[in-house]
Symmetry: C2
Subunit: 409 residues, 2 copies
């Protein structure tokens, strides 16, 4: 199941960013499961990784190698992504395999080993099938290309149980110059069989120095991938990479930086929302707008408390305007000195809650009309301040349980 349309867009060429794929038979034959992304010399690359303490071997290696490249004032030259196996919970063997993968690809491409960053997604705790993986590297390199089809094939090559590839692209005018941003992502929310991963790879031709690139990634991930949840499980392998080739326009003013950041935010948000729309068993796409908060952190706490409530999620699945469950979830959010008499909750354009109870004049019919829709917005005003946050989530269906219970069974 998946909610709404997320057509894979036509991707403009970003000169020097070349993508190759192979069918290495890691996942299953006849399916792209190995992806190589080539980054041109002189590019700058920023990375954002999972905070899970049991982070996977490729995450440890990618973080260390990225730091080494940046210390040399360089970007990495190659990213290698395999699906079908997360290489997580694999201890020493996992680290050895991740290093071996990078070393072999570096040898084939004639670059330093630490210029190659590894990424894996799939089953936790199984050793990587190194023979098949290594055998797939050469064909993946041979297929490197810059065109839109290469982007789409890469988008398909990083999927696990996703039902569709996820891509986003924008072209921005900076005065008389143009800048392009392309991105692909995978994952069905933070929650997948065996914690398979949220991965995103975004590239631009803009020229951006490392410190600015790092902060742009941090800011835009904070308001996109860090604001989605299917149930709050955080993968051992999550990663989002941002590549700036520097072959295109340079951001020359604060105004141009703002234009670029807004465009980047659009790409990141589209990719993040595509993950929620493809959430396991999802039948609804839910936007939780929390406003009137004393701080953004507080707004996020309330948003995620509601987003993670199985009672709210099952009511959404049932198209049941069960406002009491939303009220109760808001009420248990960790907010200090919470005066609930000032809270208002709106479902679409219908006022559900005010003055600590059901809104005057609210009728079941009004609520049910909104709940039957496939895309639902819940607005929660805490009446405590000026801060706000938006969280995107799904409903909870029997199919979700089936997918995760039947997996491996």
């Amino acid at each position: 199941m998946a909610v709404g349309e997320t057509r894979f867009p036509v991707m403009p060429v970003i000169e020097g960013v070349r993508l190759g794929t192979a069918m290495a038979g890691i996942k299953k034959s006849g399916r792209r499961d190995l992806v190589v992304i080539q980054v041109p010399e002189g590019a700058r690359v920023a990375g954002s990784f999972t905070l899970n303490a049991f982070c996977a071997a490729p995450v440890s290696v990618a973080k260390a190698s990225l730091a080494a490249c940046q210390a040399r004032g360089e970007g990495p030259r190659l990213l290698v992504i395999n699906t079908g196996n997360a290489n997580a919970g694999t201890g020493e063997i996992g680290l050895r395999d991740a290093h071996a993968t990078c070393a072999e690809l570096a040898r084939l491409a004639g670059v330093p080993a630490d210029s190659v960053l590894p990424f894996s997604t799939g089953v936790i705790g199984e050793p990587l099938p190194m023979e098949r993986l290594l055998a797939g590297l050469a064909p993946a390199l041979d297929s490197l290309a810059e065109d839109s089809e290469a982007w789409r094939h890469a988008g398909e090559g990083i999927l696990t149980t996703d039902t569709r590839p996820k891509g986003a692209s924008v072209e921005l005018e900076l005065g008389d110059r143009k800048v392009t941003i392309n991105g692909i992502s995978k994952g069905s929310g933070m929650i997948k069989p065996n914690m398979a991963t949220m991965l995103a790879f975004v590239a631009t031709d803009a020229a951006i120095e490392q410190p600015l690139l790092d902060s742009l990634l941090r800011e835009t991930v904070e308001r996109s991938f860090n604001c989605i949840s299917v149930d709050g499980d955080t993968s051992t392998n999550d990663a989002c990479m941002l590549i700036a080739t520097g072959r295109g326009a340079t951001l020359t003013s604060d105004e141009e930086i703002v234009i670029f950041r807004n465009g980047l935010q659009r790409v990141m948000t589209e990719l993040a929302q595509a993950i929620v729309r493809d959430g396991e068993g999802a039948t609804k796409f839910v936007t939780l707008q929390v406003q009137g908060a004393a701080s953004r952190e507080e707004a996020l706490e309330v948003g995620f408390t509601v987003a993670h409530s199985p009672l709210v999620k099952t009511a959404l699945f049932a198209s049941d305007a069960n406002w009491g469950r939303i009220l109760a979830a808001v009420g248990r959010a960790p907010v200090s000195d919470f005066d609930v008499s000032r809270v208002t909750i709106d479902l679409g354009d219908v006022r559900l809650v005010e003055n600590g109870g059901r809104a005057n004049g609210y009728t079941e019919e009004q609520g049910s009309r909104i709940m039957r829709e496939e895309e639902i917005t819940i607005r929660i005003d805490l009446g405590r301040g000026e801060e706000s946050a938006t969280v995107w989530t799904t409903d909870l269906s029997q199919e979700y349980v089936s997918i995760n219970a039947d997996y491996r069974s």
Copy 2:
């Protein structure tokens, strides 16, 4: 569905504690839905209530009246509990109805209005059916009795969608004297249609002064009702009341206080576990023992993070020894400077995880053997310190989703 046996025990008489019930037609006809518990003069009563900011009207009234009684050096004289309607999210009308219920029962019984504490459980956001509720008070009073049947009828009268009544009782030897502790509870975990409530009423004939009674309740609830979860939703109406009539033995030494506290802990834990065993759609009873923690808070964080992970819960439902999901849930728990290489995870008597990955010699067969059992213990050692905590939870089944999605639909 419910896991294991929880037979309602034979309850010894606790002199002066009398229970009455009525079929007021609040829930459905032919079903006990109104309960009155009479507390003898001179008794001491301690209460523990929900932390949900949207706490229900009866909770606000019960807290205020209990404080008023204690300020007078008295206990309340009557507790009145209705099921079928939570009187939550009902604003001013809800407070008025809760007060009116207490006032009418106080009038019938000839006690001050604030000597009556109200409790409600059921649907959120609907006004109480006052006419039927008030009409049921006299018959409930007329049926007051001390015997075991009265306790069982009260245990049945406070249920909502529970599949069975929940009771526990212990008799303790204090030197040559005896002390009795009886308790009843309701709820299917913290999660029910419309957040119906966890309620527990425990009585003893022991003579215990208010400060000690308060701390005994706090300590034992902390290690029982506050350690269970079906999914972490916290009700607007949760309450646990502890009554000490003072007509029996006095606790005369620290040793006797320890004997009593251990007995009280046994009753509280049995009542709390009975709620988990009756969890919606539950097919497994899961004990999460977290040890080697730097603090009890940290141990609880890890325990609840695992207990709330839908990936772990669906794997338990599937009897799938999917240790990667447990490892990943532990890894995302909010623990600072978390060295996962020191973590060990045992499933029953089988070592699943050590040195950051799958334990040497672990086989799928070993894990599956344990996972097929109805009662499962998962032991997580963080290798960071001496503190520990135990959390009890259930699995997550399609039936859980059906129960909560179909409700009201």
